[in-house]
């Protein structure tokens, strides 16, 4: 065998290993290939149109659990901050919408298609616009990376979906249920960490103090054990770990400066 052929064989083997990524030595190659084919079949892409349809249903469910604020001035302010961070790396195929939920529960939610919510309880714990920007940017990160949609794609319901046309009626409702459950019970640790990184990037890129998200998460830690933050703690990775990681990213990426806008926040969020 020539050197080139040997190198080609090695590359081919590497590519095959990469594709299969077999963790269980006992499992036969055929089983692994069959499983990979099943996963590929199950992970049918979801079009933007269907993503928005699913997102609308999940947003309606969120708005059904907690009433959406009718405070127009506050909604306008939250939308302005949200659009400021969303515009840093916008998805060209969706429009972002932001709203406040009237509940003392401390949390924020991102439904697919760009429907983003922050609770009154969370706003009450924030000290500045940079903190709000950090939280909304984190949620924009979830939307941009399609974290909830990817959970839905792995669901049992999607095994029955053969094309985009099947995503309607009862199937659509089931997918909305899967997405709503994922949002309220918590996304994976990896998804949360990725949204943290993106949130930091978007907020900092917009000109905000990159420490906003970390400051808010760190403050939540001081309220651990209190009722309104219990759901947040049950659905997100440990705050101290997230804060430490956010600081490390900011240091590594040389992120610094930026505005905090505490006074503007105080004037707009009463």
């Amino acid at each position: 065998m020539t050197r080139t052929a040997r190198a080609g064989a090695v590359l081919g083997a590497l590519a095959l290993l990469q594709a299969i990524a077999a963790p269980a030595a006992a499992q036969s190659l055929l089983d692994r290939l069959r499983q990979a084919a099943n996963v590929a079949r199950t992970l049918l892409p979801i079009s933007t149109e269907k993503e928005v349809a699913i997102g609308r249903g999940i947003a309606a469910t969120i708005a059904g659990r907690f009433p959406v604020s009718t405070d127009e001035a506050l909604t306008r302010y939250v939308n302005l901050v949200g659009l400021t961070v969303a515009s840093q790396q916008p998805r060209g195929d969706i429009t972002y919408h932001f709203a406040v939920l009237e509940t003392p529960t401390v949390n924020a939610y991102a439904a697919p298609g760009g429907y983003i919510f922050v609770t009154r309880g969370a706003l009450g714990l924030m000290h500045s616009e940079a903190e709000l920007a950090g939280v909304l940017a984190h949620e924009v990160g979830h939307v941009n990376q399609k974290h909830v949609i990817n959970q839905i794609r792995k669901s049992d319901t999607m095994r029955e979906v053969k094309s985009q046309l099947d995503i309607q009626g009862g199937t659509l409702d089931k997918l909305v249920g899967t997405g709503s459950d994922a949002l309220f019970t918590g996304l994976s640790r990896g998804d949360e960490m990725e949204a943290d990184s993106l949130g930091l990037e978007y907020a900092s890129s917009a000109g905000y103090d990159p420490g906003g998200l970390a400051a808010f998460i760190g403050r939540l830690d001081q309220h651990a054990g209190e009722g309104p933050v219990s759901e947040f703690f049950a659905t997100h990775p440990k705050p101290d770990e997230r804060v430490e990681r956010l600081h490390a990213i900011a240091e590594r990426e040389h992120l610094g400066g930026g505005v905090t806008l505490a006074e503007r926040y105080r004037l707009n969020v009463k």
């Binding site: 020539t2 080139t4 190198a7 080609g8 590359l11 081919g12 590497l14 590519a15 349809a53 997102g55 609308r56 249903g57 999940i58 947003a59 309606a60 469910t61 708005a63 059904g64 659990r65 009433p67 959406v68 909604t75 306008r76 939308n79 302005l80 659009l83 400021t84 515009s87 916008p90 998805r91 060209g92 969706i94 429009t95 972002y96 919408h97 709203a99 429907y115 309607q168 409702d173 909305v176 249920g177 709503s180 459950d181 309220f184 019970t185 918590g186 990037e201 890129s205 917009a206 000109g207 905000y208 759901e231 049950a234 040389h254 610094g256 400066g257 930026g258 505005v259 806008l261 503007r264």
Partner: protein
Amino acid sequence: MTRARGLARLLPALVALGLAPGAAVAQRAQWTDVVYVPGRWTGGRIAPGPDSLALVMRVDYFAAAPRWRAEMRRTTDGQTMGAAQILMGNGQSAVVVTQLGTTPLDQHALGRDTLVRALVVFDQSGQLKGPENGRITERSAGGKVLRVVFRRAVRNPSFDTALLDPGNRAGGRTLLASGIAAVGDQRSASVVATAGARGVDRVKTPGGEVPVTPDTMAVVRMERFTIGSVALEEFLRAGGLGAYAAPPDSSGRHP
């Protein structure tokens, strides 16, 4: 087989794995100029006003030298931004792109627009000028302020360089279709019309299943709540955000 020929045969595999040095794409650059002229918007016109600036245009630039693309949005009333006009170029050769095709800038009405001409400026090496952050004040020979440009570069541009090609079928579409320019000025009615999920009446939470009553009207209200791009621009300017943010400090740290 020579070593050179062997490497040549290996190259496709290396490219597929993203390991070949030649697989690197041209350096992307993306920046935004927000352009103001002296004066103040009053009743749809710019009236002279000392110490005030009126927003007239926002330009989003995308470049991978020598190719570049500029998406210009103008306001003619100080309230809303119009649809984007797209310029593309390869070095100093520029064309205006429409849904129907391209026209050389020199043969298009935009080519006689002083504001447009002022925004398509090249450096000594023939590359489009940019993207240093900061405030740029352009003055006439007599020292009078003509324009003030607030410039902000994107740190990690991720746009598709295929859209720098005027021949690309999608080239006539704006890159920032519904990201920022259309946040309030253009809603996607087709998407809203086809969305049909009602929501679900029970959800799992960390504390167990809870009943909910889906509120579709709240979602409709969210969709109808619009923020115009001019209002967003004013918000950014008041807060020193976006293009109005302070440039990197002397240590090179970016805000």
